[in-house]
């Protein structure tokens, strides 16, 4: 889609009356900037700061001590602890860090303290420039309720809503707002503290849960109700205000593709916005900014319904996660603008004259297991690299070797692609994601690829119901086969899942590794036999699937089967090293990159990552031998991920039913119940409330009813035997 040059910000113009508390003009330039954030945004802010000659200070929690953003900073200050409340939300420690390093400005990034008016005020009192709007603007917009009232008064269209407090009549409020409705945290964001209610009967429970979540996440449990527009588009407008009172907009972004209210694909411009609508949206957004005397970068969020009507949602008084799409279509550096405005400069002419050029799409790569219901994933990112190319930008908070822990948001990187058209941008973005090497952590990459290649998305028919209409698990699955069929050279190979070839490549790289690391006979042919009785054999697991690869090398040719099926009539290994396999199957040649990470412990297994033109697969090499002493007892319940045990719902000896929750873990801000696998008796319970557990740690053992009886009998017998021994010794 080609977007014509925008006619420029509709309302860039003379300063409105400066409200009290706005940053005074003409203050001193920033020399040293502390970034009160982590991950990709901290790194992104630092890069701009360094380009402008500004020194940087990072603050880091204990789990982040080896994070790339810390290494990028000129100086860094430790925030002891790991939870956000102990670290990145500690305004006092961050101000102390600024004082200790002599930082004269603080950039809050997004999330954490970025929309905390109290922190902005503390900064001002400490004589430190807060890179963002004044505390009053933050406070005014921080309460979504107040913001809405203010906007309604300023003539910005808003959705019907109601505030909930102790005296509220929930039933009446709900009826007035109308169903379906949303319960939202007044001081919230990122989907937390939010509940969709379709049935009036569910309202009370939803309000209570949202309030609890909001209290835990934001320290304020106030919630409100708001009419829910079914499957609207989420369209937001980037605004900028300077200390001279200029407020302008930098066009819209569409962020409709969301899962659990979390944006995952964002773009600019919106395929649903034409010039007239763009002007109307811009006008409303600038009006919203002016009403609060906005200074700095902000975003006015709207919902856009199918008829083209839009309603004010909220103002985010900070840089948005998705700001790079605006940067790519305008050629501007929004962080640079933030810093210049914070230094008191007026908005420069290139911003006032900004135009949209081409199209940009951002995909958020999350560490999560999509088919398992977006379960957060953790682990070590053994490799994390993306192909470089024109029009592709990667803002990453991690690098190869980084550990993705349970403490923070699981976004690994934002991958942004720019193109002349929306189609080109989507294609570039898909290629960058497809050819990225992401090893060691389960991600939503397949889902992102599935979306980027899905016809409805490509046609621009995006709204917040997109992932309800399209099953995320199915979209994830489609990503792999799409690449396979796209090649389509030989019917037989196209029909064969790429994972089969990946298992073959893993095996061939594995044998090359075995030969290279051999202490003796290294130069002899791999797997040579003078009396060949069986081929070489190695097995991999991919989820519940097993791939048994058998092979016998005969010079460059190889007889190779996966699960008993030859992968081709003629298979030639053009080259095989431990990290690259150049494989030709019936004349179709592909080069695979293979990385093997040995499993911890002595079991001999390994994780093998295969990346090729036909997709990426993470396989687990199964050890040839299982050490019986390490085998888990059947009925063992292992922690599915690292987390904190927040509730223990069973005790040893308790009779339980299959599916009954026994232990509740909290990880990545979400609760996960660990349930009994079968009817039986809890024979062991090792978890205690408040305990931090690692993935795979034994939490409990449930013996199936008959097993439990056997075990009791065994124990009795053992006791009797011990007694007999004792007697004999006496």
């Amino acid at each position: 889609m080609t977007v014509p040059a925008n006619t420029g910000p509709a309302s860039a113009g003379p300063a409105s009356t400066a409200p009290a508390g706005r940053a005074p003009a003409g203050r001193a330039p920033i020399r040293k900037l502390l970034i009160a954030n982590r991950g990709e945004i901290a790194a992104r802010v630092m890069r701009t700061a360094h380009r402008l000659g500004i020194s940087t200070v990072a603050v880091f929690s204990d789990p982040d001590s080896a994070a790339p953003f810390v290494a990028l900073a000129d100086e860094s200050v430790r925030l002891p602890g790991s939870s956000p409340a102990q670290t990145y939300l500690r305004a006092d420690r961050i101000l102390a860090a600024a004082a200790a390093t002599g930082a004269d400005a603080i950039h809050p990034g997004y999330g954490f303290l970025s929309e905390n008016a109290g922190f902005a005020r503390d900064c001002a009192e400490a004589g430190i420039v807060f890179v963002g709007p004044g505390p009053e603007a933050i406070a005014a917009m921080g309460s979504k309720l107040e913001a809405k009232a203010l906007m309604e008064a300023a003539g910005v269209p808003v959705l019907p809503g109601a505030i909930i407090d102790d005296d509220s009549d929930l039933g009446a409020d709900g009826a007035r707002v109308g169903f379906p409705l949303l319960v939202k945290a007044s001081y919230g964001g990122g989907g937390r503290g939010m509940r969709l209610v379709r049935d009036p009967g569910d309202l009370a429970a939803a309000a209570a849960a949202a309030s609890r979540e909001a209290a835990s996440a934001f320290g304020d449990g106030t919630v409100f109700l708001e009419r829910f527009v079914t499957d609207p588009r989420h369209v937001e407008v980037q605004i900028f205000g300077d200390s001279r009172g200029t407020v302008l907009h930098l066009f819209e972004r569409e962020c409709s593709i969301q899962r659990r209210y979390q944006k995952i694909i964002e773009e600019s411009p919106s395929p649903a916005v034409d010039d007239a609508l763009r002007a109307a949206l811009g006008e409303a957004a600038v009006a919203a900014g002016k009403v609060i005397g906005y200074v700095g970068a902000g975003t006015v969020e709207f919902v856009l319904d199918a008829s083209g009507s839009f309603y004010f949602l909220e103002v985010n008084t900070r840089l948005q996660v998705e700001h790079p799409v605006t940067e790519m279509v305008t050629g501007l550096d929004l962080v640079e603008l933030q810093l210049r405005i914070a230094e008191g400069e007026p908005l420069p002419p290139e911003v006032i004259d900004a135009r949209i050029s081409g199209h940009a799409i951002e995909a958020r790569l999350y560490a999560e297991d999509v088919p398992a219901g977006f379960l957060p994933a953790t682990g070590t990112l053994h490799r994390f690299d993306f192909p470089s190319g024109p029009g592709v930008r990667v803002d990453a908070g991690y690098c190869g070797g980084s550990v993705v822990g349970p403490h923070y948001d699981a976004m690994l990187a934002k991958v942004i692609a720019h193109g002349r058209t929306r189609t080109e941008a989507a294609r570039r973005l898909a290629r960058a994601l497809a050819r990225a090497r992401v090893h060691g952590v389960t991600t939503n990459r397949s889902l992102l690829l599935g979306i980027l290649r899905e016809p409805e998305f490509l046609a621009g028919r995006t709204d917040t119901g997109y992932l309800t209409r399209h099953d995320p698990a199915a979209l994830s699955g489609a990503a792999g086969t799409a690449a396979g069929t796209a090649v389509g050279a030989a019917a037989a190979t196209a029909a064969m899942p790429a994972t089969v070839r990946h298992a073959a490549a893993a095996a061939l790289a594995g044998q090359a590794g075995n030969r290279r690391s051999a202490g003796v006979l290294r130069s002899l042919p791999s797997g040579w036999r003078n009396v060949p009785s069986a081929p070489s054999r190695v097995s991999y697991a991919l989820g519940d699937e097993k791939y048994e690869v058998t092979y016998r090398l005969r010079g460059a040719e190889v007889d190779l089967s996966v699960n008993g099926e030859p992968i081709g009539a003629q298979v030639v290994v053009r080259a095989a090293s431990p990290d690259t396999v150049d494989l030709e199957v019936d004349g179709l040649r592909r080069v695979y990159s293979v990385a093997r990470v040995a499993a911890a412990g002595s079991t001999g297994g390994a994780d093998v990552y295969v990346d090729g033109p036909d997709g990426s697969t993470s396989l687990t090499e199964l050890p040839r031998f299982a050490d019986p002493s390490t085998a888990a007892h059947s009925g063992s319940l292992l922690a599915p991920m690292p987390g904190v045990v927040i509730r223990v719902l069973a005790e040893a000896g308790l009779a339980v039913k299959a599916g009954q929750p026994l232990i509740v873990l909290e990880a990545m801000k979400m609760e996960h119940a660990v349930a009994a696998p079968s009817d039986g008796i809890v024979t062991e319970l090792r978890a205690t409330e408040g305990e931090q557990v690692d993935a795979g740690q034994l939490l409990a053992v449930v013996a199936a009813a008959d097993e439990a009886a056997d075990e009791a009998a065994d124990e009795a017998a053992a006791e009797a035997a011990a007694e007999a021994t004792a007697t004999a010794q006496n």
Binding site: G510, Q511, N514, R515, A518, G519, V520, L521, S523, L524, P525, S526, G527, W528, R529, N530, V531, S533, A534, S536, R537, V538, R624, F625, A626, D627, P628
Partner: protein
């Protein structure tokens, strides 16, 4: 080092005919190897599998390091006898947890893994290889014991099996027994004499006398588990060091043990990344004629065998019926003696003796590529001292202490077999190509000699000589000798370590050389190199 230029015409009719003949021989070899793999046949293999047991070669495949080469030895033992080809035993050199080892595995599908006289020869040869090359021995035990009908040929020499195991141990060479099944009576001394023993739960049966024998001897009622189960030996008798829950577990434990023996090879390491020959080893098949009387240039073989096809020939202009020279093979320096035109004359014998002394002086292993009809006979040669010169060569071969590796490429007749480090001269390894012949002399010559002797005897006694009978007898003798000198018949008697595909010569020699370097590689000292 000079590079060999091979003038082999790979497009010619001779090449094609030679290759076809060799491929036919290799088909025969494959047929025999398949018999060995089949062991007791499909019925017994299936019954074995149904008991949840692995076949001998399956056990080995799991035991050796993934993707490492495995060289089976004495593959056609018992060929041409009443016993199954392979002699109910699998032996070989494999790498286990990074350690080159001799593996000896019973094939329980062949008459319960019973040991017959050929199994015994095969296993004793394997322990001899372990001793001379300093290789740990891993026994994969499951045998019902001696093949009782052949006990007369077996009982006395079989004692050596246990003798060898503990002798190896005394030499600092670890021995391991993984007991998968029966290991009874004399067999019980295999785990008994090994440094480490691992027994599989409810499978291993290790006792001197089973329940019927005990009942007969003492009247005591007992059962297998009480007399010799893995649990009993692990908890009570202490004969088992490790209790394995199943076969896989036993193999895992065996690999763990090997990873802890703190093994260091005593010989020097090969050079890194040796280059492959410049000529394709596949072409070796077109070099050797089906007719042993047609000689060939061993340099054509060497060009397809040694690293980079580089060969520094020693005395190329002297005693030209024998090619001698220096090369590298899979990174190991070697000296090579290869027959060229069959006959060894005095010059060749002296050249060989000098060359062997030189190799001993520099601690360089020797490779003997046999294609010899023996030392030259005739008045002028006898008068020229061919016996003395042949004796020099045999003396040098006998007293050489560097590792010898011998391959019979085509023929190995007469004392040439001795001079070229035949079986009696203790080569560390000795293999044959499938068309090779080995005998005191060629079948026709031998039959002819007998005929002449008979004729002379008849003449001396004044009896008439029956030409018809002589012709029949000559034909019969020729056929008998021809059969006995056939490579399969020779290897069937365990007179060598196996018949190999000529294209695998480089690989087999590479494995053998590396095995030999587990021991110290040192030549004989004490005299200077005699200029013969």
């Amino acid at each position: 080092m000079p590079t060999l230029t091979s003038s082999l015409d790979t497009t010619g009719e001779t090449y094609r005919a030679n290759r076809a003949a060799q491929l036919a021989l290799l088909d025969q070899l494959r047929e025999q190897l398949e018999l060995a793999i089949a062991g007791g046949g499909p019925r017994y293999q299936q019954r074995h599998a149904e008991r949840g047991k692995l076949l001998a070669r399956e056990r080995i495949e799991l035991l050796v390091d993934p993707d490492s080469p495995f060289l089976e030895l004495s593959t056609l033992a018992a060929y041409g006898t009443q016993f199954t080809v392979g002699a109910s035993l699998v032996t070989g050199i494999g790498v286990v947890s990074g350690v080159e080892s001799v593996i000896i595995a019973h094939d329980p599908t062949v008459r319960g893994g019973a040991i017959n006289p050929y199994s015994l020869r095969k296993s004793l040869r394997a322990t001899e290889i372990a001793r001379s090359n300093r290789l740990p021995v891993i026994n994969l035990v499951e045998s019902g014991g001696a093949d009782l009908p052949t006990q007369a040929d077996l009982f006395v020499p079989a004692g050596r099996s246990f003798h060898d195991l503990t002798e190896l141990s005394a030499m600092g060479i670890p021995t391991i027994a993984l007991v998968f099944g029966n290991s009874t009576a004399g067999g019980a001394y295999v785990p008994g004499m090994c440094d480490y023993s691992v027994m599989v739960d409810r499978r291993a049966k290790v006792f001197l006398g089973g329940p019927p024998l005990v009942k007969m001897a003492t009247g005591e009622e007992s059962d297998d588990e009480t007399l010799g189960g893995a649990e009993m030996h692990s908890r009570v008798s202490g004969l088992s060091d490790y209790f394995a829950v199943d076969e896989l577990d036993a193999i895992r434990i065996g690999r763990d043990i090997m990873s802890r023996i703190n093994w260091r090879k005593h010989g020097p390491r090969p050079s890194a990344s040796p280059a492959e020959p410049r000529y394709d080893p596949d072409e070796i098949l077109g070099i050797v004629s089906a007719d042993v009387k047609v000689p060939f240039d061993p340099r054509d073989v060497l060009a397809r065998t040694v690293d980079s096809s580089e060969f520094d020939e020693y005395k190329p202009l002297y005693g030209t019926s024998l090619v001698t020279g220096w090369a590298r093979l899979h990174g190991y320096p070697v000296g090579i003696l290869a027959n060229h035109r069959g006959v060894l004359f005095s010059d060749e014998a002296k050249k060989a003796a000098e060359f062997i002394l030189l190799a001993n002086q520099t601690d360089t292993p020797l490779i003997f590529l046999q294609n010899t009809t023996g030392y030259m006979v005739g008045a002028s040669y006898e008068q020229g001292g061919i016996i003395k010169d042949g004796a020099k060569m045999i003396n040098a071969v006998t007293n050489s202490t560097v590792p010898h590796l011998t391959i019979n490429m085509a023929s190995s007749f007469g004392a040439g077999n001795y001079g070229m480090s035949g079986r009696s001269y203790d080569p560390r390894f000795i293999f044959a190509w499938p068309g090779a012949k080995l005998a005191v002399m060629g079948a026709a010559q031998l039959a002819g000699v007998l005929s002449i002797v008979d004729r002379a005897s008849a003449a001396a006694r004044g009896r008439p000589f029956d030409e018809e009978v002589d012709r029949m007898r000559t034909t019969a003798v020729e056929a008998q000798i021809d059969a006995e000198s056939h490579a399969f018949a020779v290897t069937g008697r365990v007179y060598d370590d196996g018949v190999i595909d000529p294209r695998d010569t480089r690989t087999v020699l590479g494995i053998a050389l590396s095995a030999a370097h587990s021991n110290t590689v040192a030549g004989r000292r004490g005299y200077g190199v005699f200029r013969m």
